[in-house]
Subunit: 136 residues, 6 copies
């Protein structure tokens, strides 16, 4: 009798994609315009899925107000209006691709959401590009 | 060779969230503004997923016209422009949260859709809040 | 050299449509399911347009943070999770149709936004129904 | 540690639904207005999901530019502004339903995407009708 | 004190763009892939704006149920699942471009909507292409 | 008998909002998080409206393929994956607010679109913030 609850969030950030150990030419060949050293940016849209059992009294899997506040505090306020490359340890050694950002967000939420829940994160970088983690 | 077909629906309804055995203070502490005794309301958006095998002659899993009519008759006409708390036995003893409403919708569809199909329901209460039932 | 800035907002509310001086039959004939005395509800989506001249130093017509705060305080917090019929003087003598609600919102914003701006409001009751006020 | 990347695409096409071995009456009874012999058409929206392991150097599951180019070449340019019934061998013996078109798209992508990836396709024919293939 | 009410509609149709007095080469040079003689198609999305004065008793500019029924009868049922080139006198001598289709829809609605209203039509052929008629 | 045609476009860019002659404190007080000196970014969505008379032979106001190519060449390729502050003369002396960027885009399009057309630009910085230029 497991159910899922999904809550959306969003933040705006700047980034660039590059691997420091590569030449600029190789970075541009692999990452294209995303390797622009002056940065570009996105409106990131976030979808957090929490899975578990309903509380029979409240009829809630998780209080949506609580989930909203967790996303605001741990994801939106953490990343909003920031530069992913310059302001985050998490992207010092790995490029802030949609995939890596999605995993970083998952790991941040996993530490604050009760262990009884399963958690999934879907992140869009543009209206046509998404990542989802984890998957079976 | 299983495939899914998804059909969307929608209805508008009023509700409030409260547990009758709790004090009003406790209801407001847990449910916040949703506990307003004068009710508030939503445009509910529904996504019904039917899963099974394609009919090799028609190329259809289920006739989408049939699925649309089932959703209209058993969900939209049943809930549209109603008060979930005052007009439904289903929410006499359990609050009409998105989770509980999603399960009620699933159970109604499950009784009318052929047993050969698996069924899933995704229900949004606002563009940022969803429930999905069942999940693995 | 006039420019417009548009900011969206949203709130959820319950209502019913009826004219007290009419019989229930006439109310149901004119307003259909919207006349349900138990109320139904909607996710209202709001689009506020402010028109005027850009400040040449800031490059802004109006500070969008200010506009967002005005919409939150004077519209969203005023109407969100409320019953339009039971909790507002504005709808004591006139039904809370999308048209009337749009005008009430316009009048509230007009009193708090600087007179140097022109203001327009677009309000959706469902994804397929809108009102817009004023129009030329 | 599996992750999914999703990329959207779209194309516009004409089609009709009918089974050649049936009478026109039976086709109209089963397929309704979709059996119009003069054709009708749709804006098809496509969502391609690729699942696998991230490359630890690039932080990418698959280069999104590569995935976009594959979708453009093998799906969008193949189907866009075409008649599904008249111009494709794939629909000579089976009607171009959303389900069958979804499977044809999956099979085309499966042959060009590296075997190390799992692939899923979600296809919408209208904003309210979708198919998804494969499903567990 | 004029206000606008907007109601959305939609229909799916096939068409091609060509001018009979031109060669096929010229048609393909001007209309590109849209000149495919086998037809292609679209999900047309429609936005009908009605402008006038509110009825002070009902709080309505026009009964939205009436407006919905007019759009269903005179536009959706007229065009849905049809071939614009083969089944309509209106496009015998002029190509069914978004512009021409928008004007045809406007003219149909203008004859059935009360003269006291101003009317505008916005029509999208794809999520990125629109026409609007009339404009000042 | 004037008609409008609308075509959408989009690009992703980084920016920050600040006035060089102000202190950092004043910039942060006025522009808030948007003044982050490390930049942030957005997915900009663009809506170009062209207004004029239909060509009676083609049924087109402007060839939508031509309009799409103009937007791609003069707007999307010019701004996409760039830093608005560091890479554009246009924003050397005025901050790249939505309003100023909207006017810059309008001016670029105005020089390449035939004088017989009226032109309008609507630009969104986030799904909730827009600018529109010019307005009456």
């Amino acid at each position: 009798m497991r159910i899922a609850v999904i809550r959306k969030g969003h933040f705006n950030a700047a980034h660039q994609l590059y691997v420091p150990s590569w030449t600029r030419e190789k970075n541009e060949r692999i990452f294209g315009k995303c390797a622009n050293p002056n940065f570009h940016g996105h409106n990131y849209e976030l979808e957090v899925t929490v899975i578990g059992e309903i509380d029979p009294v409240t009829g809630m899997l998780i209080n949506l107000k609580t989930l909203k506040d967790i996303i605001t505090e741990h994801i939106e306020e953490y990343f909003d209006h920031k530069n992913l490359n310059l302001e985050f340890e998490e992207f010092k050694d790995s490029p802030p691709t949609t995939e890596n950002l999605c995993i970083v967000i998952y790991n941040r939420l996993r530490t604050v959401l009760d262990e009884k829940y399963d958690v999934k994160v879907r992140l869009s970088e543009t209206p046509r590009n998404f990542a989802e983690y984890p998957v079976n």
